[in-house]
């Protein structure tokens, strides 16, 4: 009896397999290392695994959640010894060391199928040396989150040009508040400011050439970017003592109304809501234009899943990535994450900030950058962001900072 049932199920699976390749019979173990333990990402990956498990009941899926920061150093160990079948990482140049060392599986075959068209917008970010090395599952916009109630009180409207931004900032400073909160203790927040100032001053192509080490840091155009930054620093636009704070420790300034805005990624929204700010008090606007006529480019970091080259069950891993990339999964998972799906057929969640980000990124004619530390070489990223932090505290050191960054660039080119 049992035997016949089993064979009937197998026959059924065979017939459906012809129609829907995603439900092909998968067996064995599928080990997934996911790089976030925070509540929303955790729920998102657990949901993905659960739905995939329902489609493949014979597959034994083992999900391991690793702390986001810890994963950044642990990845070297687990990719070289005892590799999982799927692991979480980031798009752009941050894949480079592992691609060069042959530790990531080439998944161009997945991108050659219909998935490639649905994910077309991020294909460049997943491409190194003409091949694709992973599959994106989410991305999020960066921009200026501001206290709309403070703007209302002061009679301001979000700026669209640099002059307006500076005028608004002056009005905010005159009211006894700071324009922007920021915590630079872990450096990357300053990278966000540099990205936007550089993208708006010189455009996407210049920014990408700079992060690809093709333009010297001592170039006058780089100085122009820093000059614009200096305008804000000299006004006293940023909160004091930002070197002592993490990005979370800088939030209370916005929540308590001591600062009016925060240049940040969309993951800021959740903590702001948790802190008691309503959607009527917080707004979002695109970083304003600086050099007129330059097409607007945005930072939108993409989080990705990859197959280690030493994975044991690559067949199941490929099926899982295909499912992760599907419109159905990206709709559900990003609803949970509070972020944007990449699949063009997926539905964007009905949320004020996600909708705003979706609209902004859909019209980002300039291009989509990943983020300074994902576009630049690892060593350049670290030296660069350290230089940005120093500049924010001691803008007079600019010459020394740029010379130092240039010598790092020279050394990377030599190597």
């Amino acid at each position: 009896m049992q035997f016949t049932l089993k064979s009937a199920a197998a026959a059924l699976a065979m017939t459906t397999a012809l129609a829907v390749p995603a439900s092909a019979e998968l067996t064995g173990d599928l080990r997934i290392f996911f790089n976030d333990q925070n509540p929303a990402p955790r729920a998102a990956i657990e949901g993905m695994v659960e739905r995939f498990q329902e489609m493949h009941p014979d597959l034994n899926i083992e999900l391991t959640l690793i702390d986001r920061e810890a994963n950044k150093t642990q990845i070297r160990n687990y990719l070289t010894a005892n590799a999982p079948d799927v692991n979480g990482w980031y798009a752009g140049n941050r894949m480079r060391p592992y691609v060069n060392a042959g530790l990531f599986e080439d998944v161009s075959d997945l991108w050659d199928g219909p998935m490639g068209e649905e994910l077309a917008s991020t294909r460049p970010a997943l491409t190194l040396d003409g091949k694709q090395w992973g599959v994106p599952y989410t991305y999020y916009q960066w921009g200026i989150y501001y206290r709309s109630d403070i703007y209302e009180e002061l009679g301001l409207t979000p700026a669209t040009t640099w002059e307006e931004e500076i005028a608004n900032c002056q009005a905010i400073l005159d009211s006894g508040r700071k324009c922007y909160t920021i915590g630079t203790r872990f450096l990357w927040t300053a990278g966000g400011w540099f990205d936007y100032l550089n993208l708006r001053t010189h455009g996407y192509d210049f920014h990408m050439a700079l992060t690809a080490n093709e333009i010297p840091w001592t170039d006058d155009r780089v100085r122009e970017t820093f000059d614009n930054w200096r305008t804000l620093i000299d006004m006293g636009a940023f909160i004091d003592n930002h070197t002592a704070y993490t990005w979370q420790e800088a939030q209370p300034y916005l929540v308590n109304g001591q600062a009016a805005a925060y240049l940040m990624g969309n993951f800021l929204v959740e903590p702001l809501r948790d802190a008691g700010l309503t959607d009527d008090q917080v707004g979002f606007y695109q970083f304003p234009e600086i050099t007129p006529g330059i097409p607007m480019a945005e930072d939108a970091p993409t989080d990705t899943l990859h197959i280690p080259a030493q994975a044991q069950n690559k067949e199941a891993a490929r099926e899982f990535l295909l499912y992760v990339a599907s419109a159905e999964n990206q709709t559900i998972a990003n609803e949970v994450l509070g972020q944007l799906p990449i699949n063009s057929n997926a539905t964007v969640a009905d949320d004020k900030f996600i909708q705003a980000g979706f609209e902004m990124l859909s019209n980002a004619t300039g291009g989509i950058a990943q983020f300074f530390d994902r576009d630049a070489d690892a060593e350049m990223a670290s030296a660069g962001m350290e230089g940005f932090q120093e500049f924010m505290v001691m803008p007079d050191n600019l010459d020394a900072i740029l010379n130092r960054l240039e010598s790092v660039r020279q050394r990377i080119l030599e190597d």
């Binding site: 592992y98 203790r185 930002h242 420790e249 670290s382 350290e386």
Partner: protein, 308 residues
Amino acid sequence: MAAPIITEPAPPPARGYWRSNQMKLAPWLFLAPGIVFFAIYVIFPIFQSFHISLYRWDGLGEARYIGMQNYERLFDDPAFYTSLWNNVRWLVLYLLAIPGGLFIALFLNQQVRGIRLYKSLFFFPFVISQVVVGLVFAWFYNPSIGLLNPILGLFGAGPVNILGNPNTVTYGIIAAGLWPQVAYCMILYLTGLNAVDPEQVEAARLDGAKGWRMLWYVILPQLRPATFIAVVVTVIGALRSFDMVSVMTSGGPFGSSRVLAYYMFEVSLSEYGFRMGYGAAIAVILFLIMLVYIAFFLWRMWREERGV
């Protein structure tokens, strides 16, 4: 009379190698596990570091031999000099733990009700992990929520941002590091004070010595073994200061609180660090600096043992 009984000593049994050399071999057998692990985890990595420092290697792919280039670059690297200079600061200021520990030990070396409780309270910071000490001090210094600024405010001193200011950050971390280190030196001196000969103190007192002269000429010479150990652990502790820097500032702001141990970690193993060879070169330099102290201490110990 009975014939004298001559007790012949039993003929020695055929002695195996083990039996005849038991006394010589036993210590080595007992030492063997220690020696093996020391060789694998301490001695071998020293040579491995020398070796890796001659290569360019990202820790993942192929290593390429580049001779002394890592060292040449190191001597051109401003961050290396910042770290070295900070190590010197650590070394000098960390030694304050010794007089600090001595002072507290002298203060606590009395018979009062509940003195054991006070002693253990003073020793407490050494028991908690360095990471926790670092976190506690980081919160204490925090300019927005920390206790330090309100306390300074009581005395009319302006708000300070100790860990965010490149000029004060290293001193702030050293102060945090001193807290447990003083407790450690205190314990060393408290045990040392137990061994002070009361007759000598008595004799000195009869000769009219008291206060500083008593301390300097009578007590301190008897505390020399404790002082020696205190100096050794403090110097080594200062040179390998890593956890405090990592927890409190991650070497920031803009690298101004780096020490060699942290810089080594940063370039080779941290989030953006893929320069194993360069990190190994820093490790070699740090090792050479430590070697100076280690050689000095070994020489002194050898001299003293010979003197006995």
